[in-house]
Amino acid sequence: MQNAMFDATTLLLSRTLGYSLRRHKVIAANLANVETPNYKAKDLPFAAVLKSAVVRGRSDRTRAPHFQEPRLVLDVTGEVRFDGNNVNNENEMIKLTKNSGLFSTASQLIKYKFSSLSRAISSSRGA
């Protein structure tokens, strides 16, 4: 039987929230080390994480699945400066904003899901 409260969608959304938080940490670390010699920018690529989450979300039944830790990769898009650092401030700020948007979307969707559940419960009570 499908559990209405904790189905694949909720799990997927909660995993998205977890991923978003983890990526925020990576971006914050990049921004913190914008002036550190020889520091190389890091990233958690979204596509690979989403794919693994979707595949897992579909195969779930009742147990909470083990979410594979997304792998940190070196972000090589930025140019390496003379101090060996390749953090691009603007690029990191854009990533920060995009990531925050993803978090908002996922949290809003979870909120809607719960509020519709709540409405379903209270409407049966009213009749």
């Binding site: 940490k25 971006i27 914050a28 550190t36 990191e92 700020m93 978090f103 949290s107």
Partner: protein, 142 residues
């Protein structure tokens, strides 16, 4: 999962950038200082940053990837002092030249702007995180 939380990472950068800003202010304040405790003119100082969490312990914890930043040390600029000919100055050498600090105000101003922008970027990261935390709290408010 990480020894540093998101806020701690950004906060470490704020502290480091503030320290850098203090050194720049010190350099600017001492731009004409000809007497120091070590003798000779004041010498320009610069902060060296290093990622935190690169120690053996955190490397084993596999959490070293998320690093804050810290001030690894302060280095003294070894470039030669500026020479200004002024035999009447009390600190003038016998040749009539006064040794002034090796500080270029333009360099200091550029570094100051860089430090200021880096500080702002980290403040933005903290505010972003706070907004995310607020959104997460809204999930429970049905």
């Amino acid at each position: 999962m990480a020894s540093f939380s998101a806020i701690d990472i950004s906060a470490s950068a704020l502290a480091a950038e503030r320290f850098r800003m203090e050194l720049i202010a010190q350099n600017m304040a001492n731009i004409n200082t000809t007497r120091t405790a070590d003798g000779g003119p004041y010498r320009r100082k610069e902060a060296i940053f290093a990622s935190l969490g690169t120690g053996v312990f955190s490397r084993h914890l596999k959490s070293a990837q998320m690093q804050g930043v810290g001030v690894a040390g302060v280095v003294v600029d070894q470039s030669p002092p500026k020479l200004i000919y002024n035999p009447n100055h009390p600190d003038a050498h016998p040749d009539g030249y006064v040794r002034l600090p090796n500080i270029n105000p333009v360099t200091e101003m550029v570094n100051m702007i860089a430090a200021s922008r880096a500080y702002e970027a980290n403040v933005a990261a903290i505010m972003n995180y706070r907004k995310m935390a607020e959104r997460a709290m809204e999930i429970g408010r049905v």
